[in-house]
Point group: C2
Chain length 371, copies 2
């Protein structure tokens, strides 16, 4: 039944995540576990929290690696800010913006979606118009880096409009954190979540979140959705902070990997790291353009982390992806939702964002597209 | 800020979990990740599911390693069976039984707790009397191996009474799965959750669950609590089973570790594995008895996986545990809830359940207790 000691086939992960990770990170992941109340665990956790604050550009005390993946982080952030019956507004021009709305609806919120074209950023004026017309939301949410379209949404203008309307501002930074600059405090982001398996450079299993005092205060006052014990920031705070009361058994090996990845990121330098993502993405798009494969998003809002490119006519989406995986050992992603079959999503994220990897993919693409 | 390549101090984990794991398991954890839609991932997942069915003693198709820890599994199982306003009955004689009740209350259930003395099993007649007196519950829940007291609760009699009352039966098998026999189908367990970091022999991060068709059918019909997108079995089923629709990015490295741990368990043989737990626990309790340290639970309901022992008078609980950790590199656990300061919880679980480890702890205990 099992694979025993058989290793997985080597894969260059250039999809929408997980990305490939460094040897140092997987080595760290394979260290023996320690206990969830071990003083060394809290030392490790504190180091991770300091590092995550740097990546998020925040001084928020409650900045932690939640147990779970990015989607668990999305749900936890909503569950700690939205009460049933609350008005919330979601700015969405892609699959993950729509998911925020979907989860909030499930929690009983009254959700207004400010929709933009998939593959473009949303004009902040649309949000302003919505807030001027409608009832006052408690929360406005937006996606910084839309994984389904490769689009960067500037957050500061949206946060400003949200705050003028008296709302808190929530950001999805899943495909930006560690790959492009995130400045939560400067931009007015009150709460944000991310994932470690994209630009941060870890195997999946943790969702970094940062939560302002304003959000924590609100969470004390409001009638949050029923349930959500595992994601309750108040309960979690008693574990992450002294007196470190037992809540759940945190995944310590995933902490080791995150700690190693953060160390590598700061040893490289964030500016250098962000530049590396831009270089890799630029080389990828240049090479693909020569094969007639062009990006979905215009330059002014295009992400250097997730490259959404339009599948040329007469090309078999699934066949190309299968061949890349099985013949060349390279994973790229297909389109999600209404972009399924229309685009590929190619990640240049974290450890994967490297010119050698880009060259390898371009050579394989050339073969598979017969260009 | 970070520990760079510094390894954690070596720890012999003899607390209530995580347990120490084999070199093979951590080596597997440190393999490079692959993608969440990779055909090899689904092959790996299928192997894990077959292995988990064997551990759970079930043929349930929906037997999967949920992303999260045991507490996430507890919450997911409740969220997929209990609607707000439902009557549920929890059999509780410890901290984790009470937690089931706490989570169900948060979800809006009307909860009746059949309470027993901490350190003893609950008499099934108590459950029968409660069900005869009260309104019909949709669910009866109980803890197979109560991690806070070291007590084994026989499940078959409780399941039978629950079914006679028309209720589904939920079991917490966190501290039993992989360490003592679990026979979900034979005992009439409709849904159960566990954790991988205790008797299964992995680092924490996954919660094995098994769910019968009866539960899945109910989950389709009822008005489940708002929210719980991440834990929704219906959505998860579409990922775990073909057509494998993207839900969230599963923690593949934790899958590697679980696959390796299951392989090791079946290579050892389950009967031999369970016997090893009994041998280790027996040697531990014999040795401790010679120092005047005696078990909380009577022999007829005592677990061989988690040994709850009474702290002798005039012994400083915290000092002994700190010395064991810092001077001897051995972690044991303190008491939870009303047993805090009164007992130690010593795990002989998974890879830790070994006579050499027991000898090492006994020698250290002898030093620290001056016996």
């Amino acid at each position: 039944m099992s694979k025993m000691t058989r290793l997985p086939s080597p894969r260059l992960l250039m999809g929408p995540g997980p990305s490939s990770v460094s040897q140092g990170v997987v080595d760290a992941m394979g260290a023996p576990p320690i206990g969830y109340l071990d003083p060394e665990l809290f030392e490790l956790l504190e180091g991770i929290r300091v590092g995550l604050r740097r990546l998020f550009g925040t001084s928020n005390q409650f900045t932690v690696p939640l147990t779970g993946t990015g989607m668990a982080g999305m749900e936890a952030c909503l569950a700690n800010t939205v009460s049933p019956g609350d008005q919330i507004v979601v700015v969405a021009a892609g699959y993950f913006g729509e998911r925020i709305a979907e989860l909030a609806v499930r929690m009983g919120a009254i959700v207004t979606v400010v929709r933009g074209e998939w593959g473009r950023a949303v004009d902040p004026a649309q949000l302003r118009a919505t807030l001027e017309a409608g009832p006052a939301p408690v929360l406005v949410a937006a996606v910084h880096a839309e994984t389904s379209t490769g689009v960067r949404q500037e957050l500061a203008p949206l946060a400003e409009i949200a705050h003028e309307a008296g709302a808190l501002f929530l950001a999805d930074t899943v495909t930006s954190l560690g790959g492009i600059s995130v400045e939560a405090d400067k931009w007015g982001v009150d709460i944000a979540y991310s994932a470690v398996q994209k630009c941060v450079g870890c195997p999946p299993g943790l969702s970094p979140v940062t939560v302002s005092e304003a959000v924590l205060e609100r969470a004390q006052k409001v009638n949050l959705p029923h349930g959500y014990w595992f994601s309750d920031f108040k309960l979690l705070g008693s574990y992450y902070n002294a007196p470190h009361v037992y809540h759940h058994t945190v995944p310590v090996n995933n902490y080791y990997a995150l700690d190693a990845a953060l160390s590598e990121a700061f040893a490289e330098g964030l500016r250098e790291r962000f530049a590396r993502h831009i270089t890799a993405s630029g080389a990828l798009l240049d090479g693909l353009a020569q094969m007639g494969v062009n990006p979905l998003a215009p330059t002014d809002c295009r992400l250097p982390t997730l490259n959404a490119v339009i599948i040329p006519d007469n090309v078999d989406d699934q066949q190309v992806r299968t061949n890349l995986l099985t013949k060349h050992g390279i994973e790229i992603g297909g389109g999600l939702g209404k972009l399924k079959g229309k685009i590929w999503r190619i990640g240049t994220m974290g450890h994967t964002a490297d010119l050698n990897n880009v060259e390898r993919l371009l050579a394989a693409m050339k073969t598979e597209l017969h260009r």
